[in-house]
């Protein structure tokens, strides 16, 4: 009688388990790189800070009970029209600390962690009870952790709110760039022929135009620059790397059997391109997108530094740096802290990009063993 040898049995048992998927496998490999994990943690923390900036630093209460109703004045920082009109009607003049008690002694409020504002100087009756006014060009102190600028605005508050600019510019502009780049790269790589020739020329032209001219000219065309404009401009100039990589991936993958199989089953071009090929080329395409976020943050802060960023008042790390440069002999804190924030953010995205590259590249995977 034939019996299965025990080693074969264990092999069979192992193969019966579902094999780890590509993304799970990649995540397992990504986790092995300590620096990449630290970088990912940093980016997640930064995104959380950016999303909750008004709760961390601000001079408007997060929650307040005023005349028997609950209000959320800190929402003003997200959108100017989200401040309840009652405070305007009751003549608060945006000064909650003085007005709340005066108009309704019964009121209470939960304040942000740091009572400082990126848009105004804390002085006069705006100050927190028993604390000093913000000095102009004040060095870091107990009350102004990262010092103040020449107008007496708190640098820490500006940096926390500036994280919003950096994070959103990075994400949104790269989403735009990815949409353009993946679409054009997919079309060029999948169809080839004259479509490829035309798209490749477009990519080459956009790559050759000095990006600074393109960006400066586009910024100069606008009357009042907002962060949204910057995102669109950076997105519209930063898609070439993604397009080239997508094109190469599509050229490679379209010759594989699963594409022929899909075509034989009657799938249309759009379906093959975006549900079959794109899904398989997503991992390598994510790498230039991650590096692109670092670039976008760099471009935004560089533009703000040169004075071509979003119109004031708009807290940006680059704007702080520019102010620091103008008084470099007195205000080191305007350079050291925002500079470190830009550096660490760019570094983190680059490290994630590199971790991603090594985790998802099958060639590197084999070498490791």
């Amino acid at each position: 009688m034939l019996t299965t040898p025990p080693e074969v049995e264990t092999m069979l048992a192992e193969s019966a388990e579902p094999s780890a998927g590509f993304w799970f496998e990649s995540w397992r490999r990504f986790r092995k790189r300590k620096l990449a994990v630290v970088a990912l943690t940093f980016v997640v923390a930064l995104t959380a800070i950016a999303a909750t900036a008004p709760l961390i630093a601000g001079t408007r209460p997060i929650v307040t009970r005023y005349k028997g109703e609950l209000y959320f004045p800190a929402l003003w920082y997200y959108n100017r029209s989200w401040e309840n009109p009652i405070f305007n009607k009751d003549r608060f003049r945006a000064n909650y600390i003085a007005s709340l008690q005066a108009k309704d002694p019964e009121s209470w409020a939960i304040w942000p962690l740091v009572y400082q504002d990126p848009y105004r100087r804390v002085r006069g009756d705006l100050v927190w009870p028993d604390t000093p006014e913000n000095p102009a060009n004040g060095p870091p102190s107990r009350y102004n952790w990262f010092g103040t600028n020449s107008q007496g605005f708190d640098v820490f508050a500006s940096m926390v709110h500036g994280a919003q600019t950096a994070v959103s510019v990075g994400f949104v502009s790269m989403s735009i760039a990815a949409a353009i780049g993946i679409t054009l790269g997919a079309l060029a790589g999948y169809f080839g022929g004259w479509i490829d020739t035309i798209i490749s020329r477009i990519i080459e032209v956009v790559m050759c135009i000095p990006s600074l001219v393109l960006i400066l000219a586009l910024v100069a065309l606008l009357d009042r620059v907002t962060n949204f404009h910057l995102m669109v401009i950076v997105g519209c100039t930063g898609w070439t790397g993604i397009a080239r990589l997508t094109r190469a991936e599509f050229m490679k993958l379209k010759q594989l059997e699963f594409v022929s199989a899909a075509r034989a089953m009657g799938a249309g071009s759009t379906r093959i391109m975006f549900t079959h090929i794109l899904r398989n080329s997503l991992a390598p395409v994510l790498v230039p997108i991650t590096f692109g976020i670092a670039d976008a943050i760099l471009i935004e802060s560089g533009l703000s530094f040169l004075g071509f960023g979003a119109s004031p008042p708009n807290p940006s790390w680059g704007t702080l740096l520019a102010a620091g440069r103008n008084s470099i002999e007195q205000t080191w804190w305007l350079i050291v802290f925002p500079g470190a924030a830009i550096f660490l953010t760019v570094l983190a995205y680059n490290l994630i990009g590199e971790g991603l590259q090594e985790a998802t590249d099958p060639r590197l995977r084999q070498d490791a063993h």
Binding site: V213, A217, G302, V346, D367
Partner: protein, 327 residues
């Protein structure tokens, strides 16, 4: 090969036409003209009368729509006339660029040489000592340098060496009393002023090149012929230098071609921070002054260099690697 080069040149010319056309359209559509200067904005009495502006516009061909003016500019360029700078006393653009070129070349060529000289030993060392603790630390540091934005580095260095230590000047290319110095003093003065910009220009490419060399070396060191060399007892240093490094030179030479445009373009932000009178600064100033001819002259030069660099890289690739042919 010849037909390949001719085809590439043909495509290059079309690309150039497209780029210049686009940039011309962009800069001509920026609000304001070279004659609505900053001076006039500050002091309305200095504002030009509409008639005078009209006359100037006609004189310089700015009264035509931009696409017509573009062909006017292009035909002049083809005859070797790049126009004059409106904001700099009608100085010819060619002369202006040649005046600014040495300052940029001083920085870029020094930093290029430095980056190559330093990155080869660093790259070789790190591939020889791969995965040792000291190599990992060095590689991480280099990676951090690579991610450090140049303008942040520039400001940090200025804080350290000017504000804190007071060893080096803050900006400019020469001191105010430069003319009174002896020759040795002039060289020293220039050296002091150039130190920080050169460091800022160099460290990024240094980090990039040494990582590039290391990555290529790792690829080569896995090849069979390296194992053969090891097996027959060749000294480790000889393997690194003779067997492995020589074979990584192929991708390395393409880098030389691609770094060509950077040699002349300068870095706008860095030259701005250090008030360095080079091409990057000229470019930035010209955009602010709507000095169309200067912007176009510089754009043309950068684009030609970029395309030439790419072509050069591809040709060099075929020259050093006999396996590569373009047919």
């Amino acid at each position: 090969m010849t037909s390949y080069i001719i085809r590439r040149l043909g495509i290059g010319v079309i690309t150039l036409l497209l780029i210049t056309f686009l940039v011309y359209g962009l800069v001509r559509n920026i609000p304001g003209t070279p004659f609505t200067s900053d001076l006039a904005q500050m002091n309305p009495s200095k504002m030009m009368s509409p008639e005078a502006a009209e006359k100037l516009n006609r004189l310089y061909g700015l009264d035509k729509p931009w696409y017509q003016a573009y062909f006017h500019w292009m035909s002049n360029v083809l005859q070797g006339d790049f126009g004059v700078s409106y904001s700099r006393n009608n100085k010819p653009v060619g002369t202006l660029i040649l005046e600014r070129m040495p300052a940029t070349l001083l920085l870029s060529s020094t930093s290029l040489v430095l980056a190559y000289l330093l990155s080869v030993p660093i790259g070789l060392w790190s591939s020889a000592r791969a995965d040792s603790p000291s190599e990992r630390t060095a590689s991480t540091l280099l990676y951090m340098l690579y991610s450090l934005p140049a303008f942040v580095a520039a400001l940090y260095l200025q804080l350290l060496f000017y504000v804190k230590l007071d060893w080096l000047p803050l900006y400019g290319m020469t001191s105010d009393d430069y003319a009174t110095f002896t020759t040795g003093g002039k060289v020293w003065d220039l050296l002091l002023h150039a130190t920080l910009p050169v460091i800022c220009f160099t460290y990024g490419s240094l980090a990039f090149y040494s990582r590039f060399i290391r990555a290529n070396m790792q690829e080569v060191l896995r090849q069979d012929y390296i194992r053969t060399a090891r097996a027959k007892g060749v000294a480790p240093l000889t393997i690194i230098w003779k067997h492995a490094f020589r074979n990584t030179l192929i991708p390395f030479v393409t880098l030389v071609g691609l770094s060509l445009p950077g040699l002349f373009s300068g870095a706008v932000i860095l030259e701005q921070i250090f008030s360095w009178p080079g091409m990057g600064r000229l470019y930035f100033e010209s955009i602010g002054q709507r000095d169309y001819n200067v912007i176009m002259g510089l754009t043309l030069m950068f684009s030609v260099l970029t395309l030439a660099g790419q072509l050069l890289a591809d040709i060099l690739y075929a020259v050093v690697d006999p396996r590569v042919t373009y047919n």
